[in-house]
């Protein structure tokens, strides 16, 4: 699989590589970096925006965004925690993202949690407090309404997004391999 996938190159020095193998573009906007946890071997591309600064209003240290291994925040994608009024005060809630999650270019994600092996297509919008379970495909340019719950092994698309079909039983291997392969092909010139 992926025998002909081309190498994705970036200019040397435009990405910072961390000890755990994360590759983070210098041109990505990462706010509140201390509130963000990356699991390793994840990629944050140019123009991506990650809002770790939108933290819970309660005092103390809070993890705002946690992301697993082999994830991708594509070019221009926006990842921000969801917020709402609770007991009369507006507050943000943390985002949990598991392993093997690809967020496509220019997607906007305000989900509460994203499971293992999830592909969010380019230009898709994932509304506030969405819960995306393991092994899900969100098609490009679809719009998930706020609070939507997306069960495992399903494909969603459209505006507003609906369940369109189910994924084949082989999907876990497919997406894991694709995410690993993408990470390995993404390297400096």
């Amino acid at each position: 699989m992926g025998a002909f996938d081309p190498v994705q190159t970036f200019e040397k020095g435009t990405y910072i590589e961390t000890d755990t193998g994360n590759k983070v573009s210098r041109k990505a906007t990462i706010l509140g970096a201390t509130n963000i946890i990356l699991g390793g071997k994840s990629i944050i591309q140019t123009r991506a925006v990650i809002r770790g600064d939108l933290r819970r209003s309660a005092p103390g240290q809070h993890v705002v965004i946690s992301m697993g291994r082999y994830c991708l925040v594509g070019e221009g994608a926006v990842l921000r925690p969801p917020g709402k009024i609770y007991k009369g005060a507006f507050t943000f809630y943390p985002v949990r993202i598991a392993d093997f999650v690809h967020i496509g270019a220019d997607a906007i994600v305000e989900a509460a949690s994203i499971g293992h092996g999830v592909e969010i297509g380019a230009g898709a919008i994932v509304g506030k407090f969405c819960i995306i379970k393991d092994l899900v495909q969100i098609l490009p340019d679809s719009v998930l309404p706020d609070g939507a719950i997306v069960p495992s092994m399903t494909v969603w698309g459209g505006n507003p997004a609906r369940m369109l079909s189910s994924l084949p039983e082989t999907y876990q291997e497919t997406i894991e391999e694709r995410c690993k392969s993408y990470y390995q092909r993404f390297r400096a010139v």
Binding site: A3, F4, D134, P145, S152, M153, T154, P168, E169, Y171
Partner: protein, 628 residues
């Protein structure tokens, strides 16, 4: 890019599919990641042929597992609080009504206790289009179990309920005498049971009839029903003597009234108020005509499926989901058995003269010449895979084979043997390397070490696959020798075109699009791969000795596979205007389908594969092989 499709022969004897010029042939193809593999039958299975059982039901919105016993009573929809929006089908949220939230805010401001009826009544609200159940007057006292609250408050209209009861009584009389339910207290021996099959059906129907139907009144297990059953059983009517049911009310009158109303409505129509067709056919009773009449629907349940081999004597489980997690307890999928095939690296051959106006013989002569001298003739230009192909051009591609097995496999490409299609093929296909090996799957670290040293030697051996892929021991032995890397002089000059890395081997594929061709280019390729069978069948097991065991693998190791390569061009005028792909969004110009079938143990190989076949594509390759 899952563009190559594989063939499933379903329950038939594996055979070459009909050529791609028969549109019906496409139905038997699926991408590799959608296929299953039954080890017992040694056969590919697909979603069209596997037997399916429901392992568990769940609601896709609240993710609650629904016990199978409740599913029918719940009409296969979530019986908790999950509703879909009548306008946009999104899942509705339960919200406290505005007045209530206002008043509770006022309450907290004035310092009174917040326990005061927190914020009832509750409404359903759509997060996507902002539709609210206020529009149809639905309100709920508590934010949970909305479905049961609803069935109490908003049940079916009087006349519908009466009709339903009458129909139920009618059917109950019939069912109770052919298969009395246990509550009737009679042994089934008193009654005529036409067959076990019918009895099962009627029993199931009896159970269904006694079940509570949401929106309708409670089940009539009272005296009336029992009396009826008693009367009928005396008559001992035959099981198939069901009297026709007469409706209590004429629906004609009602329909007429509705018709008059509809005419009135239509006079005032401005456009958007008519319910869209998908809203109308999803509601079973009286479909809403106007969008203001569409109601929220309970969310349909989803099911996890167990899939079995469809073969009547096999029935092995191919897919067994875990009801609690996304894991599969049993997962027999095609990708674990068959090499994955991909197509890539397209190049166009640069030629000086146009092919237009040449006769068939001239074209054939040029073709042979080109193949003889192809090593020298390296003038090729890389092209994008998504660009349209042009008639009269010769393209080369690479076919990549990825081995999923922990043993090397030997692959043999050939033309598919199939009847000539109704349409002449618009192209010629040539595979310069018909035999090659694909390395074993290993852990990632093992590849790095091996890459430096052994590829050269390995390549030299790839041409030696002289075996017919047949079942004789000597053939197998030969095949195994070449797997071990014995050099062979045959086809040696061609090996330069084989690219190997780890468990991936890439070989060339030549596509000549004939001048004047239009439409898709599709072809079938038979791929036979030989691998070591660990578990020999029956008595010829490995127990006979290690040396024997290696070669007695039975017929398990012979597979044929048919591949279809497809691309679209249009007629010549359109072709220069490039991208004539409007009709195929997302497909680009190249779609391939690979069709795979396996051969059962001991079956002879399909006749004449090594001989010149009827397909045009075969001729070139065969002539080449003969000449070598």
């Amino acid at each position: 890019m899952q563009s190559v499709l594989y063939h499933c022969a379903h329950l038939e004897e594996p055979r070459a599919p009909l050529p791609p010029s028969y549109p019906s042939s496409f139905a038997d193809f699926a991408p590799l990641n959608h296929l299953y593999f039954c080890e017992e039958c040694d056969a590919i299975r697909c979603d069209d042929c596997v037997a399916i059982e429901v392992a568990s039901y769940y609601c896709p919105n609240c993710l609650f597992d629904v016990p199978g016993a409740n599913v029918r009573a719940d009409k296969s929809r979530c019986a908790r609080s999950c509703f879909s929006c009548p306008e946009c089908s999104s899942c509705l949220n339960v919200l406290a009504s505005e007045q209530a939230s206002d008043s509770s805010r006022a309450a907290t401001a004035s310092g009174t206790s917040a326990t005061h009826s927190s914020s009832a009544p509750y409404l359903l609200s759509c997060p996507a289009c902002k539709w609210s159940s206020k529009e149809i007057g639905w309100k709920f006292d508590k934010p949970t179990s909305l479905a049961s609250q609803l069935s109490q408050v908003y049940s079916a209209p009087e006349d519908v309920q009466a009709e339903f009861d009458a129909l139920k009584d009618h059917l109950e009389g019939y069912i109770s005498q052919s298969a009395p339910p246990p509550t009737a207290g009679k042994g089934s021996g008193h009654h005529r049971t036409p067959s076990r099959h019918i009895a099962q059906i009627t029993q199931a129907a009896a159970r269904a009839l006694r079940r509570e139907v949401p929106g309708m009144g409670g089940p009539r297990t009272g005296a009336a029903a029992r009396r009826k059953a008693g009367e009928k059983s005396d008559n001992r009517a035959g099981w198939d003597q069901l009297a026709p049911y007469e409706a209590k009310d004429s629906w004609k009158e009602e329909g007429l009234q509705r018709g008059v109303d509809d005419v009135d409505t239509m006079r005032k129509l401005t456009g958007e108020e008519v319910a869209p067709i998908e809203k109308r056919w999803t509601s079973a009773w009286e479909p809403p005509r106007m969008s203001s009449e569409t109601m929220p629907q309970r969310i349909p349940l989803q099911a996890k499926l167990t899939k079995r081999c469809p073969h009547p004597t096999c029935r092995h489980i191919l897919i067994q989901p875990d009801t609690k997690t996304v894991r599969m307890l049993i997962k027999m999928v095609g990708g674990n058995y068959l090499p994955a095939i991909e197509l890539g690296r397209r190049r166009r051959r640069l030629v000086d003269e146009a092919l237009d106006g040449l006769t068939e013989e001239e074209l054939e002569r040029r073709r042979r010449e080109r193949r003889r001298t192809r090593i020298n003739l390296a003038r090729e230009e890389d092209e994008d895979m998504t660009e349209p192909l042009h008639p009269g051009e010769v393209y080369t591609f690479q076919l990549a084979f990825t081995n999923p097995l922990y043993d090397p496999v030997q692959v043999r490409l050939g033309a598919a043997h199939q009847p000539r299609g109704p349409v002449q093929p618009s192209h010629h296909i040539f595979t310069p390397t018909a035999h090659f090996t694909v390395g074993p799957l290993k852990d990632a670290w093992a590849y790095d070490e091996e890459d430096e040293d052994d590829n050269v030697e390995d390549d030299a051996g790839t041409g030696g696959a002289a075996g017919h892929g047949g079942d004789s021991v000597s053939e197998r032995a030969k095949a195994r020798m070449s797997l071990a890397g014995l050099p062979s002089s045959r086809h040696r000059g061609r090996e330069a075109e084989v690219e190997k890395r780890g468990n991936v081997t890439k070989v060339g594929l030549e596509v000549e699009v004939l001048p004047g061709a239009s439409g898709p280019v599709e072809f079938d390729l038979e791929i036979r791969f030989t691998y070591r069978a660990d578990d020999a069948e029956g008595g010829a097991g490995p127990a006979e000795g290690p040396g024997e065991a290696a070669v007695t693998g039975s017929g398990k190791d012979a597979k044929e596979e048919y591949k279809t390569f497809t691309f679209w061009t249009r007629d010549i005028r359109d072709m220069d205007a490039a991208v004539a792909v409007d009709g195929q969004p997302g497909l680009g110009l190249l779609t391939q389908r690979v069709w795979t079938s396996t051969r059962p143990n001991g079956a002879p190989p399909p006749g004449g594969i090594e001989l010149a076949g009827p397909a045009d594509m075969q001729k070139g390759g065969q002539a080449e092989r003969d000449g070598a």
